[in-house]
């Protein structure tokens, strides 16, 4: 593995790992706050227990997300020093605000986790809400920084020098809104379905049904609403990509030729040599319509982009197809659940219903990873779109492959430990959390 590939792989691994943990750490506090609210209103102990059980998960995910985030802030320099030397001052604004948001989150988490019975109960609840709000804020800020790499603004490039730097303009770059919206909704959908799936499994196994039913309901409603809203934000994102990164859009769609009535290509195997897509379903004019709301207007294809500036088509296309299909599946499942709610039908005794949700547990996160693959691979060969090439940004230090192996081993073992810990949390629900009538429950 050469140095450049190793650096890219290590970055992809670190981001891929961090994204899952930070999504859960950012969304679960909202579930927690809802069940905490229901507890404070109804005084029903089950909700207190759900809140406590979830808060353990939040603590585990926060810690893992926080350390992997710390690592990322160093890795930017360790792996891409040339990029950071120029980009740091330009796109650093969201990072400096993110530092504050993250700090607030850590403080609020301290209050929330250790504050049971020590503060006014509504203040305690409020600190939990702050955990969620500041987590979401820091997520949005980090995505805004990434959006700058896709649509760099707020500076002038004159003779290789980065002049007239305007950090505020860089932060509110054209893609910040569409990307932040798409990612935030994705986080809610993915976490909602993942948490609901775990509780569905426990209902399926007929364990602590009351506890898991109520937990399922909270998580599923968040996930379902997000999944149903997501195509809207996807549409906004696609239009932004078409406008600012035509090469990425062309790779996403495996759209080789610029022609009127540009087709929407579903599935298929792109053949980069012959510039065709085999075994695909083509919907003529649909791509033109989706981007320009005009069936005839041609969408820029890869033929109009210099070879040296083209991203890898196959990876981008597959990742995009995967993301969209998983999103559609989740939306369909969401509609089924909404029908159940509207018809006031309880399908929780029906195996097919539970099985669907159990199977959907990982879908959102696979979609999130696929989506990031589209964003990052689709931008190649640029680290800053049209401004700096990834190959020019990499560290001069040789032997990054070893560092990549090290990080892979660490992240793999960490993932195993976290799964193991969650398994034990869930296994211990009957002992620790589902004890009715015990007002002040000790964790252990």
């Amino acid at each position: 593995m050469d140095n450049f590939m190793a650096a890219r792989s290590q970055m992809a691994l670190s981001l891929g790992f961090h994204i899952i943990f930070s999504c859960i750490g950012m969304v679960m506090p909202f579930f927690m706050a809802v069940s905490h609210f229901l507890y404070l209103r109804s005084n029903n102990n089950i909700y207190q227990n759900i809140t406590k059980a979830w808060s353990k998960g939040v603590a585990i995910f926060f810690a893992t997300g926080a350390v992997s985030g710390t690592v990322l802030s160093f890795e930017l320099g360790l792996l891409w020093p040339t990029f950071m030397k120029h980009a740091g001052p330009i796109f650093g604004m969201p990072f400096s605000l993110e530092g504050t948001a993250f700090f607030i989150e850590a403080i609020a988490l301290g209050f929330f986790l250790y504050g049971w019975g020590k503060f006014n109960k509504w203040f305690h609840w409020f600190t939990g809400v702050i955990v969620g709000v500041s987590g979401l804020t820091s997520g949005i800020l980090v995505v805004a920084a990434n959006a700058w790499m896709n649509t760099p603004t707020g500076f002038d490039l004159v003779n290789g020098k980065y002049l007239n730097i305007d950090p505020i303009k860089a932060m509110f770059n054209p893609a910040w809104f569409s990307q932040a919206l798409h990612m935030s909704i994705a986080a809610f959908a993915a976490t909602g379905f993942a948490v609901a799936g775990v509780h569905a499994l426990m209902i399926y196994r007929k364990k602590n049904i009351e506890f898991h039913l109520r937990s399922f309901r909270i998580a599923a409603i968040f996930g379902v609403l997000a999944a149903i809203l997501q195509p809207l934000s996807g549409d906004i994102s696609a239009k932004m990509v078409a406008k600012r990164q035509p090469a990425k859009l062309a790779a996403m769609e495996a759209h080789f030729n610029t022609e009127p009535y540009s087709p929407l290509i579903l599935g298929g195997i792109p053949d980069e040599k012959n510039k065709t897509v085999n075994y695909a379903i083509e919907l003529p004019g649909m791509l033109s319509f989706m981007i320009y709301e005009d069936f005839k207007k041609p969408v820029k294809g890869l033929d109009q982009i210099p070879k040296a500036d083209q991203p890898p088509v196959a990876v981008t296309h597959y990742a995009f197809q995967l993301m969209v299909s998983l999103g559609m599946l989740m939306m369909a499942l969401g509609v089924i659940y909404l029908i159940a709610l509207a018809k006031k039908k309880s399908w929780f005794s029906k195996n097919w219903f539970l099985k669907l949700f159990i199977l959907a547990t990982p879908l959102g996160f696979i979609a999130v990873e696929a989506g990031w693959t589209v964003t990052e691979v689709g931008r190649q060969p640029w680290i800053v779109q049209g401004v700096m090439r990834t190959a020019d940004a990499v560290t001069p230090m040789p032997g990054i492959a070893y560092s990549f192996y090290l990080f892979t081993a660490v992240y793999l073992s960490l993932s195993c430990v976290v799964v193991f810990l969650l398994y034990r949390q869930i296994k211990m629900v009957p002992v620790l959390y589902d004890v009715a009538g015990k007002p002040h429950l000790k964790a252990h």
Partner: protein, 339 residues
């Protein structure tokens, strides 16, 4: 505006050294505690740092963000030539951060606790060791952007007696801070006595490591003596630290637990002041006597300006909230639940 940023950078480093340092020190103390006393020490320690421990480590993030937004050349020079110690430190941060959380939130108490404990105590030692090595390397004049072989560019930049001695000095300092902090948290007499003994040992270790730093500086031809004693601020800071140390040991036996914490923090402040004052505004010394200065290597004016504003606004939110957090969990007689 640049001075606002520099003050925040220095404060972030100081608070990381004091609060994060006491935090690392807790793990170091645990490492050097006999098995018989480990679980009691752990309980006292966890009660003390549990609620604020996530916040303690945010100072590092703040410092690193200030560096890459405000002083990108310094950030990238350090991350290029000190890549290896930085990776080791990051491994330590990952191991420690997760191990502490995992041992607190694992729903089942069994032999896994031993694994978490081992990971926690060893990474508590390794992380500040390499933090110290990185800090030492920044001023040791061994970073050589002209080097074109791996050994000189990426290994000898940090692997030298001076940097390693500073690493051990940092470890001892963290242990000392933690021991002093924990004296006030101990609820029974034997624990308090044992923490006082540990503070003494760590204090001695810091003296020895400090002496080693001076010896290493002589071996490596680094004019440390001149840096520390060659200016009035250095001499004043060293004297103030020495006097406060005497006062601290006098007060320990009288059970003044809050004042000794302040004094221990004061010691660290004086040490950081001495070591940074002479070099200000240069924070990285390169091979051949070149410097990377905070004033000359700053990012664009607009970037510094917005960074300063972000820091001021952030400080407005963070400091009162953090103060209230520490105050709330300092009130006595509170049994910590939730872990």
């Amino acid at each position: 505006m640049i001075y606002v940023v520099i003050v925040f950078l220095w404060l972030a480093l100081l608070l990381y050294l004091v609060m994060g340092g006491a935090d690392y020190g807790a793990g170091i103390i645990e490492l050097f505690t006999s098995d018989a006393n480990k679980s009691r020490t752990r309980r006292i320690m966890y009660n003390a740092i549990g609620p604020i421990w996530e916040a303690n480590h945010m100072w590092l993030i703040i410092a690193i963000v200030i560096l890459f937004v405000g002083f990108p050349v310094i950030y990238t020079t350090m991350s290029t030539y000190l890549h290896i110690p930085l990776v080791v430190m990051l491994m330590g941060i990952i191991a420690r951060g997760t191990a502490l959380t995992f041992r607190s939130y694992d729903a089942v108490r069994d032999d896994m606790q031993k694994v978490y404990n081992k990971v926690f105590v060893y990474s508590s030692f390794v992380t500040p060791l390499f933090l110290g090595i990185i800090a030492g390397s920044a001023v040791s004049g061994r970073i050589d952007p002209g080097a074109n072989d791996f050994l000189h560019a990426y290994v000898l930049s940090w692997l030298n007696w001076f940097s390693v001695a500073i690493g051990f000095f940092t470890v001892a300092l963290c242990g000392f801070l933690a021991a002093i902090y924990l004296i006030g948290e101990a609820t029974d007499h034997p624990s308090r006595k044992s923490f006082i003994r540990k503070a003494r040992i760590m204090n001695l270790a810091a003296f020895v490591a400090g002496a080693m730093v001076f010896i290493a500086a002589i071996i490596e031809k680094i004019p440390l003596v001149q840096w520390v004693f060659g200016n009035i601020i250095g001499i004043a800071a060293v004297s103030a630290a020495s006097i406060s140390l005497v006062v601290l040991w006098y007060l320990i036996s009288r059970g003044k637990r809050y004042i000794i914490r302040v004094l221990a923090g004061f010691q660290v402040t004086m040490i950081l002041l001495t070591t940074t004052y002479k070099h200000y505004p240069n924070i990285v010394i390169l091979k051949g006597g070149g410097y990377l200065s905070l004033l000359e290597n700053r990012g664009a004016e607009k970037a510094i300006e917005s960074l300063a504003i972000a820091l001021l606004i952030g400080g407005l939110f963070i400091l009162p909230a953090l103060g209230y957090l520490i105050y709330s969990f300092q009130k006595k007689g509170q049994d910590i639940e939730g872990h």
